[in-house]
């Protein structure tokens, strides 16, 4: 993780000589001003794409899993790939809000709200796939331990079951955490919006926040507790997702390195996603003062670190495969690099291992355009990582007789594309109606928030420089 630098005045987190009032204004104005045209356009497109996804899922339910490209031996294809990918993206949020919070990383305040929202929506997208990938969706409730006249329980040995619980817990806690942090800001919104209806709505969700000391006291406690709860989850959820593979016995899946490797990959892709979104919205909403280059640089540093961890994992897989001396294991990895799926493998390597290396150089770390491009590239790479793990291992396992080549159908593709519809629909609504930066928290990192500040300035509040 990034190191804990003491705040020095010439390197403040919020640029542009803001004081409390101006900051509050800057952020809380956004939901109040007239909805910009681009928002309507973007929202329209997202809805369209979302509709496509729903259509594809209906088609799937109507005909059966056969509408996907799956076959013997490849029983999981894009469905699980997409699931793991989305869950991975869903990692940045909690990491930023919980772990960085515990590490007292002030700079998180600019982006945590934003990242948490993204997390919630990403996990929603992820959740779709395990649900629809089953052959008989109408019996899926059997995986929950419910009383029934068959006197049957689910099989608690199955990683798939752990997965369900892990993802559900993660979704609940992240949603809770997100909402928790929103409460004071919702109150601010409540007090600032005109119009009775909006007041009522914000008011309802503000749950009667008054900003009293008592409120703040509880708030801080609860926030700390949730952060404590969420922190292990960040690591657990993707570890458990990785068990779906690691616990099975297919060469290329049966690997002990998976949990850390998956978590690193998740943070990697999560941060990349946050960056892509942030770079656009800070421009659109003129938030350069809050989401500054410093932030981008810090995040790029994390990307560089996690990217190299992932790269190390790739290398390690090969080493272990060779070192284990298991023929099947060796074959799978050599086959990944040079077999029928090598194209996917090399895309993965280029995007995930090569591209982040740019960030060794400070100039690139602070280059917005490059950062944006790479953040996209990295997420492409991470999708391919999951594809390579899921498909190539299955396609050529133990018995050469049952090897087969998987190729997706249009339904596979459009379902995946469709999830972006869901994601952006939610995200745009968030941008439009909620304060996208944690107002109360960001104020906390202003120099003015430091009780010593006024003494240092002899009560002179004219300028910060």
């Amino acid at each position: 993780m990034s190191q804990n630098i003491p705040m020095v005045p010439d390197n403040q987190l919020v640029k542009g000589n803001h004081d409390f009032a101006s900051l509050t204004k800057l952020i809380s104005e956004i939901p109040q001003e007239r909805t910009p045209l681009w928002w309507y356009i973007a929202f329209g497109i997202s809805n369209l794409v979302l509709a496509i996804m729903l259509a594809m899922i209906a088609w799937l339910f109507w005909n059966g899993i056969g509408v996907w490209g799956l076959q013997q031996p490849v029983g999981w294809g894009w469905d699980i790939t997409n699931f793991v990918w989305w869950v991975g993206i869903g990692h940045a949020g909690t990491l930023i809000s919980a772990i960085l919070f515990l590490f007292r990383q002030g700079w998180r305040t600019a982006i945590n709200r934003f990242a948490e929202a993204m997390t919630v929506f990403a996990v929603m997208c992820a959740g779709i796939f395990p649900a629809i990938h089953v052959g008989r969706i109408w019996t899926i409730y059997w995986i929950f331990p419910l009383p029934n006249s068959m006197q049957l329980w689910p099989n608690f040995n199955s990683p798939l079951l752990w997965d369900v619980f892990a993802v559900f817990t993660y979704l609940t806690v992240s949603a809770l955490f997100w909402y928790m942090g929103l409460v004071p800001d919702l109150a601010t919104m409540r007090d600032r919006v005109k119009g009775r209806v909006s007041k009522m709505i914000y008011g309802t969700f503000a749950m009667g926040w008054t900003g009293s000391n008592r409120n703040w006291q509880h708030y801080e406690k609860a926030y700390m507790i949730l952060a404590g709860l969420a922190t292990p989850l960040v690591l657990s959820v993707h570890s458990i997702v990785s068990f779906d593979f690691a616990v099975s016995m297919i060469p290329g899946w049966h690997t002990t390195i998976f949990p850390p490797y998956f978590v690193a990959g998740a943070i990697f892709s999560g941060f990349a996603m946050v960056l892509s979104l942030m770079i656009i919205s800070r421009k659109l909403y003129k938030l350069e003062d809050i989401m500054t280059l410093d932030h981008i640089e810090k995040m790029n540093t994390i990307i560089l670190v996690t990217g190299n961890m992932v790269g190390f994992a790739y290398a390690m897989e090969f080493f272990i495969a060779w070192y284990s001396g298991v023929e099947y294991e060796k074959f799978v990895f050599i086959n990944r690099a040079f077999g029928p799926y090598s194209w996917a493998y090399w895309i993965m390597i280029t995007c995930n291992v090569v591209s982040p290396q740019f960030f060794w150089i400070k100039k690139f770390r602070r280059n917005i355009a490059l950062t944006f491009i790479l953040s996209i590239v990295i997420n492409i790479g991470m999708w391919f990582e999951r594809f390579v793990i899921t498909v190539t291992s299955l396609a050529q396992d133990y018995l050469p007789s049952s090897w087969g080549y998987f190729s997706p159908t249009y339904v596979d593709v459009l379902t995946y594309v469709g999830t972006f519809g869901l994601f952006f629909t939610c995200f745009l609504l968030f941008l439009r109606f909620l304060p996208m930066v944690a107002i109360s928290e960001i104020k906390g990192v202003l120099p003015q928030a430091d009780p010593a500040y006024y003494r240092a300035q002899n009560g002179n509040t004219k300028s910060n420089k």
Partner: protein, 215 residues
């Protein structure tokens, strides 16, 4: 600044929480109870093409189950008797009753009588009558006092759980094989000793793995 909400609103969150807990529990329980075979199946007594009365034939006349449902002793199914079987008697008696008319029609035309199935377990479950009867499970154990029914009624849920209850602990339901058709049979006081003896002698271990019933 003017308040948006009245004071009483403050209680809403607490109540909401309570309500949610209650509702969720209610839903699960509702499904578990009202969706259960015990609730849906038991008591199913459809009208039959012929108002054949078991209470009369099996009860008053005391015709043994085997006479009509003999296949239950050596086959999986306890078949419905052929028209022929009925005609063994009804060639001579009850010809004038208009209730027997469909029977005679079937006999002349050769078209089978369309009885309505009462005890219908799902098609993916394979129940075998013969092994149960030959192990000493009485007809009444699952079908109830047929000899007291005018219209045959489903007495037990015949859900998977119901089967398992007995398969997990067969002892209370065992009886001497020669007593299986005895509707009125009641376990004697020394039933447990008897059951244990049976279980050892015939090495009864009602299997509970899937293949027992599902293939």
């Amino acid at each position: 600044m003017a308040q948006i909400f009245p004071v009483w609103v403050n209680d809403i969150p607490k109540r909401l929480q309570l309500a949610i807990i209650l509702v969720v529990t209610a839903i699960i329980f509702g499904f578990w109870y009202f969706g259960s075979p015990e609730y849906l199946e038991v008591g199913y007594a459809p009208e039959q093409p012929i108002p054949y009365s078991h209470s009369f034939h099996a009860g008053e006349l005391g015709i043994d189950c085997q006479y009509c449902h003999g296949s239950a002793w050596n086959s999986a199914v306890a078949a419905i008797p052929s028209t022929e079987t009925c005609m063994n008697c009804h060639e001579y008696i009850g010809l004038d009753l208009e209730t027997t008319q469909p029977l005679l029609d079937s006999w002349e035309s050769g078209d089978p009588i369309e009885w309505v199935r009462v005890h219908d377990i799902p098609d993916h479950a394979y129940f075998n009558h013969s092994i149960h009867i030959n192990t000493g499970i009485g007809c009444a154990t699952c079908h109830g006092r047929i000899d007291r029914m005018d219209v045959v009624m489903k007495k037990e849920s015949m859900s998977m759980g119901w089967c398992l209850d007995c398969h997990n602990d067969p002892a209370p339901h065992l009886r001497p094989v020669e007593e299986v058709t005895n509707m009125a049979w009641e376990p004697p006081d020394d039933h447990n000793e008897f059951a244990q003896m049976m279980i050892e002698k015939r090495n009864i271990d009602a299997p509970v793995y899937c293949n027992t019933c599902h293939r």
